[in-house]
Amino acid sequence: MKGLLWLVRKQLAHHRVRSALLAACLGLVLFIPLRGTWLVQRYDHDLRARAATTPLVLGQPGNRFDLCLGTLFFRQARLRPMPWSAASEWTDRRDMVAVPMHLGHHVQGAPLVGVTPEYFERRGLQLAAGQWPLRPGEIVLGATFAQELQARVGGIVRSDPAFGFGLDGPASQELRITGILKRAFAPDDRAALGSLSTTWLLDGHLHGHDSAQDLRAQQPDLVLAESGDQVLLSGAVVPDQEAQRDLKRLHLHGSNEALPISAILIWPDDEMVRTIAQTEVNAEGTWHMLRPAQVIDDLMAQTLRLKTLIDRLVWVLGLGMACLFAVISLQSAQLRAAELITLRRMGAPPGYAARLIGLEVLAVALSAGGLAAAAAWCASRALPNLVHVL
């Protein structure tokens, strides 16, 4: 046996380029399903873990995947807004905790999510430094985002313009970082979180500017009309862009009740409350209430169907590769016929040549497996989490 292994080693070393190429080709064929399985397993785990900690989501009727992935993973989704008045029906209930949230804004490319303080409690988020946001214009940063930004407590970041470079949209705002969260291994790590009033500030619903009296005295061209104690100001009035520095100037136009929110996350006290709430809401039809776990099940079922198809294709590819490998091995055996005859004449026992070739094939296959596993491990370190990318 020792002699056999020595001969295998010598043979592979002698044809090192051919052996390496064979191992790499086979490794690649093994790598794809291996990596695919790991990737899907991790995706599945991460999605389900997040969904499992969010019993219900309420939003406008529409694409349930958008609603679910938007509210749970802060995915860019154009969710139709709900009025704030719709939230009070849920936040006032004592048999559940409802967390209204407002999505759609960004800070330095990361999502800025407006939530009520219960969000931090329900998600178990903790501060690594600083304090929770208390007023409009204050935010806390997730651990990964803070690290990428090299942000510190007390620092200022500017929000991304809500409408790109359009001049007619609300101006971007300076936002004060009041705290940095501990790593939660969740989408919150890559986000900025603030109060709902912060997102309303970025929407332009809440803003600060000089008083109408001051504008009338100093820039009368900005006053379009006056009637009694009503003053109509021009759209050219520039609102404060550092609103949090002078909160007394902040004011809302219109009714508080009409302010927009994207969705409401709901944590009911028990299963009965959850079932009744979901049934009533969906039967009534104005809003749509869904269980994220069910939506993720459906999403994963789709993903797994696709993965099964890809796996089958990979197996066909693998079969082709195996055939090619067999042909190469047979050709190699034919080329080595003289060598194998010499071995038999030298007294090698019957079947020695077959074992030699078999061991060579096994060695290449094992090397390919090792390469595939190593490549899959490296890829898992290097490639981003699918939950953040997809």
């Binding site: 009070s88 409802a98 967390v99 303080p117 219960e118 304090q131 929770w132 409009p136 009033s197």
Partner: protein, 313 residues
Amino acid sequence: MLRNLVLPGWCWILGTLMIACGGQTPTPTEASEPVKLEGPVLASTWPLASLASAVLGPHQPVRCLVPAGEDPAFWQPSDEDLAAALQAPGVLLNGAQFEPWASTANLPSSRTIRTGRAFRSQWIDETSGATHSHGAQGAHSHKGFDPHYWMDPLLALEQARAIQSAALGLGWIDGGIATTQFAELETRLQELDALWVEIATELGSQTVWANHGTYTYPARRHGLRLAVVDIDPDKSWTQEAEIQWAKLETKPRYFLFEDQPSIALQSTLHRKGLQPIVLRPAEAPIDGYSSALDVWREDLRAFRNLLQSPSND
């Protein structure tokens, strides 16, 4: 013989153990331990803090956010106050924009109780927004809804009901204590309402002047004829007031003030035969009183006594 005794013996032992392990359930009549809250319940105004203290009883701490001498409509909470609100078991708000800071502060929505919401249909819409001033807060105008509904004891009772409902729902008190405490508070508020009834009866069809729209809710309930004449109690008689006074054929006899008017104003009022009456809304804590309910009762009793005194005829 011995075998026959084994089974009943085991049954007896098991039965004894079950009883010893606490098979008994507490009866409703048993006194329960008061619930221990982690921190005080926060109230945005003194009336709310007083109602909450009455509802929750002496064991549950309640903290009035607005300090003595401040006007809740202008007061701004500090970072410490807002941080305390995040940790508090509950935050009680009056609503109707009486706490403008609350519309932008990051408050926990599930523990924030807007005590006036349940009777929103009864809110009075202040369509006129004349600019005026009182105290050191500068000029302002009122538009939207009148937030002084606690001045009507029966609406204050509704606010207390909202507090009680939240207290039970959020587990601040147990049901037995809640019922007892609420019954006591209801009696006190009905006493205040009875005082308003007596005052309204004594006044009859007389018009009463008020320096602020604070009394519109009890006036509406009891049919008081109230005219609001904006005069800052700290300042003197105004030209606008003089014009209004001159226009009247039947002069009013009583002028309601939120606070004691200045000496100069008092002397003007006396010259005109106007009796200043102080009915304090007690929006912020007042030294010497433990509850806003005591302030309201004292003021209403004084007014009622004045109206019923023989010298008043």
